[in-house]
Every structure is written in C-alpha cells, then in structure tokens.
C-alpha cells in the first residue's frame, strides 16, 4: 500500500518535470511542426557530424583521397572497381574517389573556417568591447574600418593578398580571420555601448572595480548571447569564403582535397560527370545552412522575448 503511494507520487512528479529534448523533438515531428528546437538540434547534429568527419575521415572510407587511378576516370556513383572496392559517389577526372575527397575536404573547410572564426572572433570581440566601452577616437576609427570592410568586396582583397603572401593553411586562416572579425566587432560594440550605461556597471564602479574588470567580468558575459548568434552565421560565411578561395585556386592547394577546388576541378565536366559537382556542392550547402540555422535558433533561444514561443 505504502509503496504504491510512493510510486504514484513519483509518477506525478515525473509528469510535472519538463519533457526531455528528445521527447520534444519527437513530439514536434509527430505534430508536423518544425519548431525552433528542431532546427537547433538538427543543425547541431550536422555540425558535430562534420567535425567528427574532419577529425577522423579515415573511419568512414578506405580510399586514399589523393590516389589517382586514371583507368577509372569519371566512373558513375556506385561503381565497383576491379579490386572490389565500392565508389558510391563515383570518381573524378583523375579517378579519385569523390566520397573520400569529400570527407578529407571537410577537414580543410573546418580547420580554416573554425580557426578563422576563433581568431576573428577574439579580435572582433576585443575591438568591439574597447570601442563600445571607451568610445572616443578608437571607436570612431574602428567603426569606420568596419564600414569600409562592409562596403568593399573582401574577395578582391583576399585574392591580392593570397597572391602576395601565398596560400598555405596558416595564411588562409589569417585571410579568413581578417574578414571574420568585422561583424563580431560591430555587434559587440553595440552591446558594450548599451551595457556600459546600465546601473550595475555604475554600481561595480562605485565598489572600486577597474575598467579592465568591468569590461571582462561584467560587460563581456552580457554580450555573449548575441556573440554566439553572430558566431553561428560567421562560421557559415567563413567556410564559404574558404571554398570560394579554393575554387579560385588561391585557397587550399592540390593535392589536398577541398570542396572549393573539387568544384573548380569538376566544372569543365559538369555535363558529363554531374556527381563530381553535386556532392561537394551539397556538402558545402549543408554545412553553411546548418551553421546559419544554428545562429538563427541560438538567437531565438537567447532572446527572452522569443523564448518559449514556438
């Protein structure tokens, strides 16, 4: 009797507890509504999938992505070569396996995009905090530079720069980071500008807090929500930039596989071998979309006004 009672109570408590993420995802699938949570979960899964592939591409294929087999050029998807190995995305104009090149290409995209995002984000947040908090000449100069960036096609600068300093991975990261800081700086500056006027900033100053402490301990945590959102969008944008540079043959250098250069290689054979174009294009679209959706759903999650509305 007593145990029954306890069981009842627990089950009542259970029903009061918020449903788990998985339940909510399943529920919204059943109801046929694509909620913000779905976008969030799916985009996170996609991004983590790509990260896993980039970390260990050899787990997912047994082909060497740089191995030329000129007798197997432009084989269609599903082709099985004479060793009995399956090329389920076919082969390219040098007989290389498209699937394994795709996997290894994720590595280039994510390293350049990710590192560029980190460096650019750090610099941008720093510049933005300083500009927003200090104001004055630093703010004016920084924001004019930002305006200049946003009004000029960066790809031109990137091409000239890549031609001048060469294009190994480190240089590519720098080129991408130099584009990436801009949005971070602008958003962070706006936030810092608003937050420095809040009473709790005056309060901490009245308790003897220094400017450095106020910026790092009090303003920075308050800017994190919009910064995370920007980071989502920027990741997509920077991956696309890397792909563009590789497409223009000033990015990742052959034979290292990259999606951009795969597209460039495949372009002349578009009518003959559609698979060599389709799959890298799809991969690129998928990761950029996932990054953008992540940014978008992060914004919905971070914004108290939108939170809880589906």
């Amino acid at each position: 009797m007593t145990t029954e009672k306890t069981n009842n109570t627990t089950s009542e408590f259970k029903s009061l507890a918020p449903p788990s993420l998985l339940t909510r995802v399943i529920n919204s699938f059943i109801k046929g509504k694509v909620s913000g949570n779905i976008a969030f979960v799916v985009s996170i899964l996609v991004i983590f999938g790509f990260i896993l592939v980039a970390v260990a591409p050899q787990w997912f294929t047994m082909h060497d992505p740089t191995l030329n087999t000129l007798t197997d050029r432009h084989q269609e998807p599903g082709y099985i070569d004479k060793n009995g190995n399956s090329h389920f995305m076919g082969t390219d104009h040098l007989g290389r396996d498209v699937w394994s090149r795709l996997l290894w290409g994720a590595r280039a995209s994510l390293i350049v995009g990710g590192a560029g995002l980190l460096i650019g984000g750090t610099v941008g947040i720093f510049v933005g905090l300083l500009a927003g908090y200090r104001g004055g000449w630093f703010d004016r100069i920084a924001m004019r530079v930002v305006d200049a960036y946003l009004s000029f096609p960066y790809i031109l600068i990137a091409i000239v720069w890549a031609a001048l300093i060469g294009t190994d991975v480190a240089n590519l990261i720098i080129i991408v980071a130099v584009r990436g800081w801009v949005e971070f700086a602008r958003v962070t500056r706006g936030q810092a500008l608003a937050i420095r006027e809040r009473e709790y900033i005056t309060a901490i100053r009245a308790l003897g807090g220094s400017d450095v402490r106020i910026i790092l301990r009090h303003i920075l945590p308050n800017t994190m929500a919009p910064i995370l959102v920007v980071a989502g969008f920027q990741l997509g944008r920077l991956i696309l930039l890397e792909a563009t540079l590789s497409f223009l043959t000033i990015g990742i250098r052959p034979p290292t596989p990259a999606w951009g250069s795969m597209l460039a290689d495949a372009r002349p054979y578009l009518s003959k071998a559609w698979w060599t174009v389709l799959y890298p294009g799809l991969a690129l679209s998928l990761i950029v979309m996932a990054a953008n959706f992540l940014g978008d759903s992060l914004r919905d999650k971070m914004d108290p006004a939108l939170r809880g509305k589906e």
Binding site: R198, A206, L207, R217, N222
Partner: protein, 328 residues
C-alpha cells in the same frame, strides 16, 4: 566639534550639452560626521543624485564635469585623487546603494560572485573567508538562508531582496560612509519599511555614517540626524532634523511639508507646490524658487539669497526667512 568625515565645499557639477550648460549641482556644501546620518531632500531633477555621484566621481564624463569645489574625505580632497587612489576609496571607504535594485545587479552573474567581488578587490581574504563573510552579510541584511541562495542569480530574487543584497555589497568592506541614492524609491511601501529598518540596524551596528538621498520626508524624519533641502542645484535650507521639521524657515521646505499627509495634524487638503522647477540651463538671477513661492516679493527676483544662520544648527537661504513658518 571633531573634524567631519566628509566635507563638501562649494561643489559644482555641470553638464555640457549641445543645448547649453546644465547646472545640475551649483555650489553645495555640507558635511558628514562619523556615524551621522545626513539626508538630502528635494524633488526630482534638483541635483540630489548628481551631487552623490560627484562625491564618488562617477558622473559620466563627458558631458558631466565637476567644475569647482572640494570633497574632503578624512583630510584629503578626493576630487584631486588619482584614478587608482579613487578605486581604493570606492567600496572600501565610501560605498553606494543605488536607486533601482532591479537594474543595479548584473543579471548574468551569481549573487555570490557579486558579493565576493568587492571583498576580493579590497580585502585580503581567501575565497572561503569571502564566502563566509558573504553569508554573514546576507544574514545581517535579513536573508537568513544566505548560503543556499549564494548560487542564485538576481532574477531569482524579489526587489526587496535584491536591495538587501545591494546593501550587503555596500557593507562588504566595512566602509566608513554609505551613500544611499533613493534606496527605497522603487520598492513598495511595506518593503520600503523593511529595507529602512535593515539600513537603520546595520548602520547602528557598524557605526557607519550615511548620506541618504530621498524625496520621502517620512524617511528623513525618522532616520536622519541632519537634513539638507536641495532645490535647483542648491541647498536652500539645512539643519538638524528637529530644526527642519519644527522650525521651517524656507518656503520650499514648508511647501514640501504641506504636500505630504501627516498623521499628527488635522486632515486638511494637501497643498502641492504649484509650477515646476526652473530650467537648469537658464536659471533666473534671483531666488530660484521665486516663481513658485507664495511669499514672493520684488527682492526675490533681483538677487539670490545666500544661506544665513537661523540658529546654531540651522541655515536657510531666503530673504524673509525670519517671517516664514514661525508658527506654521
């Protein structure tokens, strides 16, 4: 009489805006002795808060600037102190409690972090000593389950609780002086009483001096030792609490007293003061209260009255101070 803890002399803080110079604080002087509670009273926009921020040197600059005067704290003019000296004074020597507890705590940091922060800045304590002290302080301000609540965020506290936390933060480094800028204005009446009770208790226990800025005359009557009445950037009447309430010598103070309900007087109609305070950018040459004063005469609009002695502990700036309120 011993030397005061804080002495303010002819303090002037102006705001330089594109529409002209706003003389928010225009030459005020007062002093605070150790353990004393001084009230600064006046209606909105008369420079009360700016005078407090000037003392802490927290007036946003630009556009604000303290153009004249001395703020002598324990013998040193803190308007001349360097930034790092100033940081050692803020929080450690003089602490502040702000008006709006809903916005004066950082929403993304825990109460623990915010309570411990001033201690880390000013006291040589280990983390666990800081936390113990934080719990003690919370207990002092009437949050008894402090240890459990330390990891909570500000939004988990009500307005009154947050103001208690603010008071605990202000007390955390044993300051000699607390400046409370309308500490109860944004709280409802029952909570106001609780907070004032807490403040009275803690300053009693810690022997802290306090400057309380308010427009609530009830608060003044109960807690203040000395009262300064401010109007349009100037102190118009100043004296001990008893003198001010029993022996009004300025028409503005009289107006303030007549515009609040009293329990001990017959229920008459409340008499508001007609009109609005003057534009601080464009002040009249004469008495700043002349426009709204029911005793106004020719001299009032021509020359500004200075603070003159009424009694040992009472000054008033009015040309006809000797005829006002003698029996009100």
């Amino acid at each position: 009489m011993q030397t005061p803890l804080l002495q303010i002399e002819d303090l002037k803080t102006y705001f330089y805006t594109s529409n002209g110079v706003v003389k928010a604080v225009d030459g005020i002087s007062y002093s605070v002795h150790e353990g004393e509670t001084v009230a600064i009273v006046g209606e909105s926009g008369c420079g009360k808060s700016v005078s407090a921020l000037s003392v802490m040197r927290l007036v946003p600059s630009p556009p604000g600037k303290t153009v004249n005067g001395k703020v002598i704290y324990q013998g040193n003019d803190i308007l001349k102190a360097s930034d790092s000296e100033m940081r050692k004074i803020r929080g450690k020597q003089i602490a502040m409690v702000f008006q709006d507890p809903m916005t004066s705590l950082n929403p993304v940091l825990t109460i623990k972090y915010q309570l411990v922060e001033p201690m880390k800045l000013h006291l040589n304590l280990t983390e666990s000593q800081c936390v113990d002290r934080a719990v003690e302080l919370l207990d002092l301000v009437g949050i008894s389950d402090g240890r459990k609540r330390l990891d909570d965020y500000p939004h988990q506290f009500s307005g009154g609780m947050r103001q208690r936390v603010m008071i605990a933060m202000a007390l955390s480094c044993d300051p000699k002086l607390i400046i409370a800028d309308e500490p109860t204005t944004n709280l409802d009446v029952t909570i106001q009483a609780q907070i004032l009770e807490v403040m009275e208790k803690v300053i009693e226990e810690t022997k802290t001096a306090m400057v309380i800025i308010t427009h609530n005359l009830g608060v003044v009557a109960r807690y203040a030792d000395t009262v300064n009445i401010m109007y349009a950037g100037k102190i118009v009447e100043s004296g001990t609490c008893e003198e001010i309430f029993k022996n009004v010598r300025h028409p503005y103070t009289e107006g303030l007293l007549q515009s609040v309900p009293r329990l001990d007087a017959r229920a008459e109609r409340l008499q508001p003061i007609p009109g609005l305070p003057p534009d601080l950018r464009n002040l009249p040459p004469g008495c700043r209260f002349a426009d709204r004063c029911k005793y106004v005469h020719a001299k009032c609009t021509e020359a500004m009255p200075e603070l003159e002695t009424v009694s040992d502990s009472h000054v008033s700036a009015c040309w006809i101070k000797d005829t006002i309120g003698v029996k009100s």
